[in-house]
């Protein structure tokens, strides 16, 4: 009997020998390298698109079309002096950047990039790992990503980073709930927690079987908004908010550590885009042709193409939308996304176990929810009026 740790992946069905180990190592290295390159390209892409939107040219000096600009920035950061503030908590200050980048990479590990590849009788998935609880792993990693930001802000021993860190904690916990809820709808439909299972579940017909359509578009929208907030991308970048907090949690960081935060942020963006594609757009699903050589590249191409759309969308949001105020951010998370996702979860669940009384239950819950909402509003209005019956003042 194989160890319970390894029993989950078909690659290890016949035990672990050096070819399997080699395959795993190669997968990890390739994924990490590809992500690093993708981050460099993403930074260039973002700067280019933003500058196009703002009717300016953008980076165009380093390399063709400024493609090597990120490389140049990285080298520059690498050679800068590494400062640690006097008030800082040194251990945590050093630890924080790694805590930030690790979840970003680990999340990518469960994303199925393509189909199966067979090399010398060893069939393996184009996916670093396929644990049976992939989605939960994703949620776990995304909930861990807050540590890097929080600890960085706290350990700096400075006011603005601390404010940024506390904001980050609140924001990320808030949007975690809505994100998890929308993921649950996908899981309900697929009946599995494995990312590959979810992708396979969406691959019956092109587009029509994608969760984007199947769950109705609402969970997808919620998920997209939530991950934008989770990754602290604009318009939810209150953690950094340079106009209010100087530079947010990473104000005191410099040199390579700063580069790591930067890397983590973009890696998060890419990973989350890939996750959206996996969960709602069928991942590598798409029309394929039987090409004798390298036919496994076609799904990978589909995957990359879809991911690119979301990367562009992220940049687009940054270029188009102003930053939210903090209370607006919290209102959106707690008062809109969570109730809506709860309600939609009911609808999806009712549709899955279709009985006539599901309608009744849904209607009753809708009425109840409406009443609750109304009472909350009335209470808030009373408190705003300074009604002594309210008695409680929200600061």
């Amino acid at each position: 009997m194989t160890s319970p740790l390894l029993a989950t992946d078909p690659l290890f069905a016949h035990g672990v020998h050096w070819p399997e180990l080699l395959i795993v190592v190669v997968k990890v290295v390739v994924a990490f390298g590809a992500l690093l390159v993708a981050v460099m390209m993403m930074i260039w892409f973002e700067r280019k698109v933003i500058s196009d939107m703002q009717a300016r040219i953008g980076p165009n000096r380093a390399g063709p079309y400024g493609l090597l600009q990120s490389m140049a920035d990285g080298i520059k950061l690498f050679f800068k002096e590494d400062l640690i503030p006097d008030q800082a908590d040194r251990v945590v200050f050093r630890l924080a950047p790694y805590l930030s980048i690790l979840p970003a990479f680990l999340s990518f590990a469960i994303v199925p990039v393509g189909g199966f590849v067979t090399i010398s009788h060893h069939t393996f998935e184009l996916q670093v790992a396929d644990p049976p609880i992939g989605i939960l792993f994703l949620l776990a990693m995304s909930s861990l990503s807050v540590y890097g930001v929080m600890l960085a802000g706290w350990s700096s021993g400075s006011k603005y980073p601390l404010l940024g860190a506390v904001r980050a904690a609140a924001q990320m916990i808030s949007y975690e709930a809505a994100m998890g809820m929308s993921v649950i709808m996908v899981v309900l439909l697929a009946g599995t927690l494995s990312t590959r299972g979810i992708v396979l579940h969406q691959s019956q017909t092109f587009f029509g079987s994608w969760n984007l359509v199947r769950t109705g578009i609402v969970p997808f929208l919620i998920f997209f908004v939530a991950i934008t907030a989770e990754t602290n991308r604009p318009p939810f970048d209150l953690v950094e908010a340079d106009s209010e907090l100087v530079g947010g949690f990473n104000t005191e960081y410099s040199s390579l550590r700063f580069a790591l935060f930067y890397l983590a942020e973009f890696m998060n963006t890419i990973t989350m885009s890939a996750v959206v594609v996996t969960l709602f757009l069928g991942g590598p699903d798409g029309p394929t042709a039987h090409v004798p050589v390298l036919s496994w590249l076609i799904p990978v191409g589909w995957f990359l193409g879809k991911t690119l759309i979301f990367l562009f969308a992220a940049v687009w949001l940054r270029g188009a939308l102003p930053r939210l105020r903090y209370d607006q951010l919290m209102d959106l998370g707690w008062k809109v996304l969570i109730p809506v996702s709860l309600g939609w979860l009911l609808i999806v669940a009712s549709a899955l176990v279709w009985h006539w009384w599901c309608l009744v239950v849904a209607a009753a819950l809708a009425v109840l929810g409406g009443l609750l909402w109304r009472s909350v509003r009335v209470g808030a209005a009373r408190m705003a009026d300074g009604d002594p019956a309210g008695g409680v003042v929200v600061r």
Partner: protein, 235 residues
């Protein structure tokens, strides 16, 4: 007695595979180091980080024992929510100062603690490791792994929770709602309290009792107490 325990344990090691044994060893070490870190770290933030370390070790041990779902939930709930909440409160209240671990104002507390807990440990080891305390009784929930009908642990656990333990499940759901409401009520300050804030501070200055004042970060203690957004977080 230690020798007896060891003599009992050593033959058991031989059966485990290398991967599992290594995993267990590393995870156990992580758990113990993390736990020791929690109680010996002077800084509450460090203690929280050590707690996360322990939680990870426990999660790995869960995976080792085919409790994948619980491992994930352990990380999500404990590491992702509970400890973050701890950190948040530490930062929010500004109590991230070094604790004094050398003296204990309660005389005899520390030796008593060590002796008593030592006794507890010894008794538990005697009970759990060296004796056969297993009565053979089973819970009403059913088997975890049925070799005739292999199912993922998520499916089995889900079935158990939503059928056998449905009522406790609903009750815990209610408990969570109650906890949320309670937290909101606790963390909100009434209008009178908000107005009387300054008076509270003045009273604090001449507060006669309180044997140890370590960790009480007043406004003048450097890092300001950040008290702006607690409603949103705890609600």
């Amino acid at each position: 007695m230690t020798a007896a325990v060891l003599a009992h344990l050593v033959p058991l090691v031989a059966g485990a595979s290398a991967v599992d044994a290594t995993t267990f060893a590393v995870a156990a070490l992580t758990v113990l180091v993390g736990a020791a870190g929690v109680i010996f770290a002077r800084n509450p933030v460090h203690a929280a980080l050590m707690l996360v370390m322990t939680l990870f070790g426990v999660a790995v041990l869960f995976v080792e024992q085919q409790a994948n779902f619980l491992a994930a939930v352990q990380v999500i709930v404990y590491a992702g929510a509970i400890v973050v909440l701890f950190l948040f409160v530490i930062m929010f209240l500004g109590v991230d100062k070094q604790d004094d671990l050398e003296h204990d104002p309660l005389r005899g507390q520390r030796p008593l603690a060590y002796v008593l807990v030592g006794l507890v440990l010894a008794a538990m080891v005697v009970l759990g490791v060296t004796t056969h305390w297993d009565t053979g009784a089973r819970s009403v929930a059913g088997v975890a792994r049925d070799s005739a009908h292999p199912q993922s642990d998520v499916a089995v656990l889900g079935k158990s929770v939503f059928t056998t333990y449905l009522f406790p499940f609903e009750i815990t759901a209610a408990l969570l709602v109650i906890a949320v409401v309670g937290a909101v009520v606790l963390a909100r300050r009434s209008a009178a309290e908000a107005q009387g804030d300054d008076r509270d501070d003045a009273e604090m200055g001449e507060d006669p009792d309180g044997p140890g004042t370590t960790g009480s970060g007043g406004p003048e203690d450097g890092m300001p107490a950040y008290d702006g957004d607690v409603q949103e977080v705890t609600s």
